[in-house]
């Protein structure tokens, strides 16, 4: 990993000498997307260009936007990282150096984003990633003017917030369906950098809600046969098994869990109710689902239905975590608003505008970045009762991280 980061840093040094944000000589502003459109992370990855592409279309169809008295339109330039970090680095280099994009969106994978930032930040490219793991590098020193991540923005809430609201939502929705207060939880988690990071926060969030969590069972990425992991979980007699990340694996594991009768209820992270309905899934026990950040298929958010209608009408595939697209769609609009407010494409003025704006998006009517370039908003959690009725609720994030 260190070698990869060093390579990325070296590349960034070379790029820094001649890479400047593209100026739109022909009134077209290019924005880049680096995402997994193939490989194991495709279920989340393909939502990035779909969400960004929809926002670009909406902005262009509305006539574009004005900066410095000129009207501009957007052009999305997307690159498939094939769920491979070296490809993500090469794609970022190309977008920064050759395509000369003004901003980059992606990726959804923790270590990829870190490596990409080593290229985008020295080149002063505004970089958005819906990746809560950025908390590891976004701090007051790194984001200050001249800091090494001054142009990097996290378009997903901090993980203690997302995990906290998710855990609270899951427990509160499952309790009435179970008919008793769940006390014991087992987590089943994909063993990669993102899985390890996310699960560490979710474990604390469950403990903060009073859950007994006797085991976190890690499975190798790309696992298809979950039966031994589920049997291990079953031996602990849990009230809830929490499948935390990623959606494809979760949908592979759930039918096996139901066959084994592994728990009294389940939670599926990153699975939209829309896919639950479309695949005509059912369970004889309650199943909770969380979306990132609001749900496709069944949502308490009044803007969600219109958004997903437009999203799929634009040709996006019906994916397991289509809601991830909202971690990017809203921020294209947010960025354009910042350029208009700054009346400039200058990256420093754009950062200043981004930090001072209150943007009205689909996810929230008041999207703002905190001083360390991170957003805060609610997370939606849904639950399917045995028999199929689905109910959803927005869960506000906790104010502080759990102490332990």
């Amino acid at each position: 990993m260190k070698t990869v980061l060093k390579l990325a840093a070296s590349a960034a040094l070379c790029l820094g000498a001649f890479a400047h944000p593209a100026f739109a000589e022909d009134n077209i502003v290019k924005i880049g997307v680096v995402a997994a459109e193939s490989g194991s992370f495709v279920s989340a990855g393909h939502t990035l260009p779909a969400g960004v592409g929809l926002a670009v279309k909406q902005i262009n169809d509305a006539g574009g936007f004005k900066v410095g008295g000129k009207t501009y339109k957007l052009e999305m330039v997307k690159r498939d990282d094939r769920t491979d970090i070296a490809t993500a680095i090469a794609a970022t280099q190309e977008l920064v150096r050759d395509v000369k994009v003004q901003a980059i969106f992606g990726s959804e994978t923790h270590d990829f984003t870190l490596a990409m930032a080593k290229i985008t930040q020295p080149a002063k490219i505004i970089h958005f990633a819906g990746n809560s793991t950025l908390a590891k590098i976004l701090n007051p020193d790194s984001v200050k003017p001249g800091g090494e991540d001054h142009y990097l923005f996290q378009s997903e809430p901090q993980e203690f917030q997302r995990s906290g609201s998710t855990a609270r939502g899951v427990l509160s929705l499952l309790e009435p369906l179970l008919g008793f207060k769940p006390k014991k939880s087992v987590m089943i988690v994909g063993n990669d950098a993102t899985g390890q990071f996310l699960s560490s926060y979710y474990y604390k969030a469950l403990k903060a809600e009073g859950q007994d969590v006797p085991d976190i069972i890690f499975y190798p990425p790309d696992t298809t046969d979950f039966s031994p992991f589920l049997t291990r979980a079953k031996s602990l007699n849990p009230d809830i098994i929490h499948f935390w990340y990623n959606g494809d694996s979760t949908l592979t594991a759930l039918p096996q869990a139901l066959e084994l009768g592994a728990a009294k209820s389940y939670f599926l992270f990153g699975v939209d109710p829309g896919i639950w309905k479309e695949k005509q899934l059912s369970a004889d026990v309650p199943v909770a689902m969380s979306c990132v950040p609001v749900c496709w298929g069944e949502s308490s958010n009044p803007k969600a239905k219109a958004y997903f209608d437009a999203y799929f009408a634009a040709g996006a595939p019906h994916g397991v975590t289509s809601s991830v697209s909202l971690l990017y769609h809203d921020y294209v609009h947010f960025l354009v608003e910042a350029w208009q407010k700054a009346d400039s494409f200058d990256p420093d003025k754009t950062v200043e505008a981004l930090l001072n704006l209150h943007h009205q998006g689909v996810v929230s009517d008041d999207l703002t970045f905190n001083p360390t370039h991170q957003v805060t908003h609610a997370t939606e959690v849904c639950a399917a009762a045995p028999g199929g009725a689905i109910s959803c609720a927005m869960q506000q994030p906790p104010a502080e991280a759990p102490k332990s």
Partner: protein, 290 residues
Amino acid sequence: MDIFIQQILNGLSIASVITLIAIGVTLIFGLTGIINFAHGEFLMIGGIVTWLAVSAGLGFPIAVVLAILAVGLMGYILERGLFRFTLERPTNGFIVSLGLIVVLQHVVVLFWNPNQKSIPRPLTTVWEVGGVRIASVRVMVILITIAVVALSFRMITASRYGRALRASVEDRDTAALMGIPVRRYITGVFVLGSALAGLGGALLIALFPITPFTGGTMVMKGFAVALIGGLGNIYGAVAAGLILGIVEGFSAGYGFSQWTDAYSFVLMILVLIVRPHGLFGGTSGPRMAS
């Protein structure tokens, strides 16, 4: 105790899927010398054909037959159009197969998008015996694997075709001088191995959803089992598949679950160091093609 028995059954189920893949790998790699790393994508195509057929309203048994025929035909076309030109240079064949992985994945993504595909379970009954749950669909896969193993074993060891095939593995030139159409036999084995991958894909999607990228992990395990058991040795593939299935099941159930895959490959490395021809003996793989 019921958890322990459940884990044994889990291991058997894992073993059956791996063994089915490994038999195709061991036949093609061991008997023809073609290192086809795209075998996992053949499996994936088998699953996609099954998904298309079931989505079109056909029954699962018909879909399985279509998957076997489609992937067998694909194997024939690829062997005649690509791999036959690499027989003298197995490394070239290996590189060709790596390219084929990307091509096949992207063809599927282009036409049917990258999302998971699944079919309704062809058998939904779950038996419960003393706290142990047995899914009928898994029993079906185990029984089909046993039948395929028995047929393949008989074909290789007892048929005229199998004897000629083994003769050509021992000494290709002499076999050719004796009138054995070696090239045609190589095509036949490749098509058979491909058809088995089609069957494997059909059974896989009956158990789990698949994506265009499912093949990668499966083929690695298939190669591990084929090498542990001994290339070209069907009995070895079955025994190694069982060993790996049980090791995986128990490591996930009782050990460091995140290392489940690693155990398989550590075992493979150890076997290749201590017994280069596998635990049960086999051919030398690509060397016979040189």
